[in-house]
Amino acid sequence: MRYLYAILSLLITIGLVYLLNTPMGGVPAFGKLLDPVNGFWANAEPVDKDFNTQLNFPDLDPSSEVWFDDRLVPHINAANDHDLYFLQGYVHAYFRLWQMDMQTRAAAGRVSEVVGEKTVAYDREQRRKGMVYGAERSLKMMEEDSRTRGALDAYSEGVNAHINSLNSRTYPLEYKLMGFKPEQWSNINTALLLMYMADDLTGGVEDIQYSKLLEVLSKEEVDFYFPDRNIGSTPVIPTGTKHDWQAEYIAVEYPGDRGKKFPEYRPPLRKDDNSGKGSNNWVLSSKKTKNGYPILCDDPHLNLNLPSIWYEVQLNAPSVNVYGVSLPGAPGVVIGYNEHISWGFTNNYRDVKDYYTIDVVDDNSYRFNGNEVAFDKRVEVIKVKGMEDVIDTVKYTLHGPVIYDEHFRKEGVKETLAMKWMAHKPSNELLSLYLLNRAADYPDYVKAISYFTCPAQNFVFADTKGNIAIWGQGQFIDKWKGQGKYIMDGSDSSTLWGHEIPIKENPRSLNPDQGYLASANQTVTDSTYPYWYNGDFGEYRAWRINKILDTLNEATVEDMFAMQSDVYDMLAEGVLPIMLKNIKEEGEYISLLKGWNYRYDIDDKAPTVFRVWWHYFYNVLWQQTKFGKLRGAMYPLPERTMQLLQVGDSCLGDVAGALQASYLLATDSLNKLKETTGFEWYKVKNTTVRHLARIPAFSYSGLKTGGWGTTINAMKGNHGPSWRMVVEMKDKPVGYGIYPGGQSGNPGSKYYGAYIDKWVNGKYNELVFVTDSKTDAIKYVWKTKGAE
């Protein structure tokens, strides 16, 4: 009997401990997690935590220190570049390690390793895009340059110094929830992170959708509905800018058939609210500002995630003194300013990704120019949590990797497609940032950005001497007209990419007469730019920005703050009068719209009515035209739709009928909304800053924001201004900035979502260059060994 009791008690005890120590199907091990010594409680940071400490690393010069201000922004003061990037790596890892790890995994297609089966398809697509392949090629270049090699090595050293100081108690919270451990950091991770950005910003697959449209439209019609350069654009490079150089190459017209037909492709419906993926930047010359200094503004729009993609930092060493936001995972400052210049980005959106059909002979070769060419195979092993490895062989052609084939299909694509992508070209964007951080004038800036290959960006520039500039910078190809608009025949050498356009022939403007420069992902140039290109451009925000800046004089930084929060919609201004004129309905919704000022204000109900009605109208309208014959066709942009409505083009068919039908659909949806969420704009939109693991308890939702993708304040559901920056280029530049997050990535820290309220309300933090740890601004100091 004694034995029975003893064994029974042991079984119960050990059984319970085992259950509580084992994660089960996505549920973490509760014993481990709830343990107040090592579990999540260890990540509950005291709100008055004293961050002062001493770092003992023999490689560091004793005078190198990190000073934190009251917002926990590190001001890294290093004796040399090595210490600077070591400490930046250390600080990034200290506050953002899990995020760095996950973003790298997401880039490399290694998410399943920690998440399990449900992300295998995602991982495979990443591998098939050649993400690791591209990162490896670029890393080689980065490591061939002693400057970027030095920065990368020191950075990785710093990240690892922090990782090695951790144990299962001190791991970031998400590791405990997901049940994995950080691994050693290496330089390839930084290269992967840069690939991740390139993918995010040049990832579109419109070639496939255009090809599909050829089933119902002629090429001339495609050009009519989808002009390469949007009609009526206020381009990035102001209209009339002289391209005062002799173009080195201009491609000849391609004689063959430009596009192939894809009867099997069923692309997903392109939602009109796709518009507004992008960013804004602009710069005013000294003659447009009240204080007589240039003002530079930038607000890149990205997915709104926590921990934020950005991390504020000041980097100060003998060779550099720069302030701005960095990407956790990469050394240097990405967007910011130093004592001489400031700079910012918007995505350029010229098409640098094309698809080719592959004429497959067998598993080992394909046909090209009549010859058989062997695939270059790369075996991808995808580790999957709780399962056997998934093995995928990616075949590389002379165009690039085969992304879709019989082993891995995109919905509806039956062809074997290879991808030619500028992001696969070895490049050293890190050197661009390294040099920008140190640039003192316009020539330095031009030199710096010349290394920026992909993703192409509109780089806006201002300096303390009063110069302003913008470049549509990236590596581009001299394409024949229409090249890469449709899927191309990959068995024919005449479709290959031609020469690379020399950087000096990229579009740009320096100190234009109009006194300002602005970009918001719109068409890059007017038609006088000699090279042909197309891209995924949108005009609404650019129209609004140009309209304001045209007449704005004596501008102040407060005017710029207001502009970055501007919610006036040029789409509504353009289409709503036409919609109202052609509808015979009356009632609450119509009177809301009649009284509307086209602003997406937070509590206003009219924007909801407009968005819902426009959504149905846009879809019903195109559905009744030729586009309706093609299930799930891509429709012309809202910009083009608006223009065709304004001239009453007959191609649109029965506009009044579409309005009537869509109004009924809209009324139905709106009535339902009214009963459920309510239809104040912010409630319907539900702006959410979401934790990267999509944990609602770590996210902020229902934020009271106005705006939409077509307004300057491009605040959407989970996408919007990821960093707002305004810099007045005084003799000592003064910067203001805000991002939707906080300096700490730890959901248990008071710094985790510290800026969100301010960001929602359009407020800014003043960014301070600190040169002395004794100032009041500094709250905590990290000394290094040997420092007093």
Partner: protein
């Protein structure tokens, strides 16, 4: 008199077990909150029910103390998020958290006594 002394002794034992469980958790793992009461009652050899109570009380005391201390210092930022994640109201979550530890400690203390009885 006798009663008071034995109550004192019980309290001291609780504190000793709690301390060892804390150190054990810190250097080994959380399940030391089962092992330490097990070893303690194995040595002390109380009645089974008292062994259970000893383990239960010491770990309840330890976890409650640590949780309250951490939670107050943290202004309940993280406990609020974890409670939401698990889907419990805040107070219920804290109670469940302490009870979980206490239960493991109690079972450890109970089995320590019963195993000891094998070596009579």
């Amino acid at each position: 008199m006798e009663d008071k002394r034995s109550r004192m002794k019980f309290l001291v034992n609780i504190i000793i077990i709690a301390l060892f469980a804390w150190v054990g958790s810190y250097f080994v793992a959380w399940w030391m909150v089962a092992v330490v009461p097990f070893v303690a009652t194995f040595i002390m050899n109380p009645k089974p029910a008292k062994g259970f109570l000893l383990g239960l009380a010491s770990i309840a005391f330890l976890w409650l103390y640590l949780i309250l201390k951490t939670d107050v210092a943290n202004n309940q930022i993280l406990s609020g998020r974890i409670a939401e994640l698990i889907g419990l109201p805040m107070v219920a979550f804290l109670i469940v958290n302490v009870v979980l530890g206490a239960l493991v400690g109690g079972l450890g203390g109970w089995s320590g006594v019963l195993v000891r009885k094998l070596f009579k």
